[in-house]
């Protein structure tokens, strides 16, 4: 167990190093020569980035300065604005992204597990078909498509209709922004949809598998009621495979939130990343991308280790 965790951590550290080095190479050796051309950079900013990235030093020294900064948690500064650093943007945007992501994850898990159980208990009946339909839509249709369509239908049409009918200025689902509970409902539900679809399928098949195992038959023979069997033995053991996909699902929610943040104008990480790409604020793009990659690597590492603790068999793979 300990050895597995150590090996996993070492692997993650090497990955982090690879990503950091990749971003460094990208900054210095791509066509366009980011730090050579330097056009349209205000003089004060130029002075700042020269100091921050050690641009007046040899390349190798620049690399170690960059590496040192990242290790200390300093991801760089903007090359457009004098008063912006990557870290200030992250401290503003990341909590918003985490908030949105956790809401989505909560919806995906709770709804996915409940619908999955319903589907399994109604195998090959209409209810099962309905959940199958929902999960096909969720798996196949991209989140940004659902996001735009539901913004149009729910936020413009339905909300507009309701406030016209009631004659009040109350907005059920505001179109965009991030200013309160009602603003979070549609974005997090849409963001949750894809992950929920996968959880439904997994929960259904794993519950059906578990219900055929010998100890369930034994519980039946013992005379437990079917409700007791399902809640006490079935669901608990069927939840296992869900944990194994929690990592990839959280990652896909994090990345999917980039589009959702654009659609609903939510000031999260994705919003700032897209803006800085469009403003050609390259050091900011690098810093934010690096941060997102580090978070993804961290999530993957944590879930791998968690899963290995829950199910020691995976280490043997």
């Amino acid at each position: 167990m300990f050895r597995f965790i150590c090996r996993r951590l070492v692997l993650s550290l090497i990955t982090v190093w690879m990503v950091v080095t990749f971003t460094f190479l990208l900054m210095h050796h791509m066509p366009g020569e980011l730090f050579v051309v330097k056009k349209n950079v205000p003089p004060q900013v130029l002075e700042n980035i020269t100091q921050k990235y050690g641009l007046d030093r040899p390349k190798l020294e620049q690399y170690f300065i960059y590496l040192g900064n990242v290790v200390r948690g300093d991801l760089g500064i903007s090359m457009k604005y004098t008063n912006k650093s990557v870290n200030t943007i992250i401290s503003k945007a990341f909590p918003v992204s985490v908030d949105l992501g956790l809401r989505a994850l909560f919806i995906a898990l709770s709804m996915g597990i409940i619908l999955g159980i319903i589907a399994a208990l109604n195998k090959n009946k209409p209810l099962d078909d309905i959940t199958l339909f929902i999960s096909v839509i969720g798996v196949a249709v991209p989140g940004f498509v659902l996001g735009t369509l539901s913004q149009y239908l729910l936020c413009y049409k339905l909300t507009g209709f309701l406030s016209r009918v009631t004659g009040s200025s109350f907005r059920l689902f505001p179109v965009s922004g991030w200013k309160g509970f009602s603003y979070t409902l549609v974005p997090s539900a849409v963001l949750a949809f894809g992950a929920m679809a996968i959880i439904i399928r997994m929960m259904r098949s794993s519950l059906l598998d578990v219900l055929e195992l010998n100890y369930i038959v034994n519980a039946k023979v013992k005379g437990l009621s079917s409700r007791e069997i399902i809640t006490k033995h079935g669901i608990k053991n069927a939840l296992f495979p869900i944990v194994s996909v929690l990592g990839p699902l959280s990652v896909s929610i994090l990345l999917g939130s980039f589009a959702i943040e654009k659609i609903f104008s939510i000031p999260g990480l994705g919003h700032y990343l897209v803006t800085s790409v469009q403003e050609k604020d390259y050091t900011m793009v690098i810093g934010l991308s690096l941060f997102t990659s580090l978070i993804v690597i961290l999530v993957n590492t944590i879930t791998d280790i968690l899963y290995s603790i829950m199910d020691p068999r995976v280490q043997l793979k």
């Binding site: 990208l26 196949a140 991209p142 940004f144 498509v145 735009t148 654009k262 390259y282 793009v285």
Partner: protein, 275 residues
């Protein structure tokens, strides 16, 4: 053998046949649209902006510059499908070569190659694609390259598994005893016998690549104007969603329906080949 089994499975499934027909229709119309419409995808016509669908000869209406949306959707289909197919094929190729080499050589080489693949797998490919396109320009070529070099690990792992499995089989063992080289074993025995897994993977990679491209373009980080993939069209139309919803709903519907079609076909093949 695998291909005929896959075709048979599709033909026997009504939903899969419909999906395939629709894909074929979109593909053909995107190639022959100049015969169907007198407009082109780039010329502005400021007298005819924001025409709703079915107004005159504009079947899907026009956009903010008076460009015919039907023609732009056809042109977008070409770009989206091209990027999807090319990226999926290159990914698969890289994955096959990497996986076979790793599996055939085995031992420490296998261990190192697989750890490298693990690392690539845990870096979010979308971020790498954003970085590469930001620094290398946003042509179709860079997007194809960026998508191909980030998402090959899945195929590599499957191919390695196949190789390890097949390597121990009697016909491969006897080929080895007869002195057949590694390269020949890979091309003559391992790849032909893994065609099922490869086919399933290609069918899942194509929609994934189309999705990735559409996602990027929708964020405004993909193909640049005046060329437009479906994602770009949706991104442009998004600004006008509240007043002229068809500008965003039509391209998005195409993305959604095409994705469902690929998903249905992929699933059918997967079930048939047990991938």
């Amino acid at each position: 053998m695998f291909v005929s089994r896959a075709v048979k499975a599709i033909v026997q499934n009504r939903i899969a046949v419909t999906a395939l027909l629709f894909l074929g229709l979109v593909f053909i119309v995107s190639l022959i649209y100049p015969l169907l419409s007198e407009y082109n995808y780039y010329a502005h016509n400021l007298d005819n902006v924001f025409l709703p669908p079915f107004s005159g000869k504009h079947v899907f209406g026009t956009d903010n510059f008076g460009r015919d949306l039907f023609v732009r959707v056809c042109e977008g289909a070409k770009i989206s499908l091209k990027i999807g197919l090319a990226a999926a094929l290159i990914q698969t190729l890289i994955g096959i070569i990497y996986g076979c080499l790793s599996g055939v050589y085995g031992g420490i080489i296998d261990e190192i190659m697989m750890r490298i693949a693990d690392m690539f797998h845990s870096i979010p490919s979308l971020i790498i694609v954003i970085l590469l396109t930001t620094f290398m320009g946003r042509s179709e070529m860079t997007i194809i390259i960026a998508l191909s070099i980030t998402d090959w690990t899945g195929m590599a792992k499957i191919m390695r598994g196949q190789t390890l499995l097949l390597r121990e089989m009697e016909f491969v063992q006897s080929a080895k005893v007869l002195g057949v080289g590694n390269l020949r074993i890979i091309t003559k025995h391992i790849i032909p016998n893994s065609m099922g897994a490869i086919l399933v993977n290609v069918m899942l990679s194509i929609p994934a690549a189309i999705f990735a491209e559409a996602f990027l373009s929708f964020l405004g980080l993909g193909i640049e104007i005046p060329k437009a993939s479906w994602g770009t069209l949706a991104n442009e139309g998004f600004v006008y969603a509240s007043s002229y919803p068809w500008l965003v709903i039509i391209p998005l519907s195409f993305i959604a329906v095409i994705m469902i079609c690929f998903y249905v076909i992929g699933d059918t093949i997967k079930d048939a080949l047990g991938g």
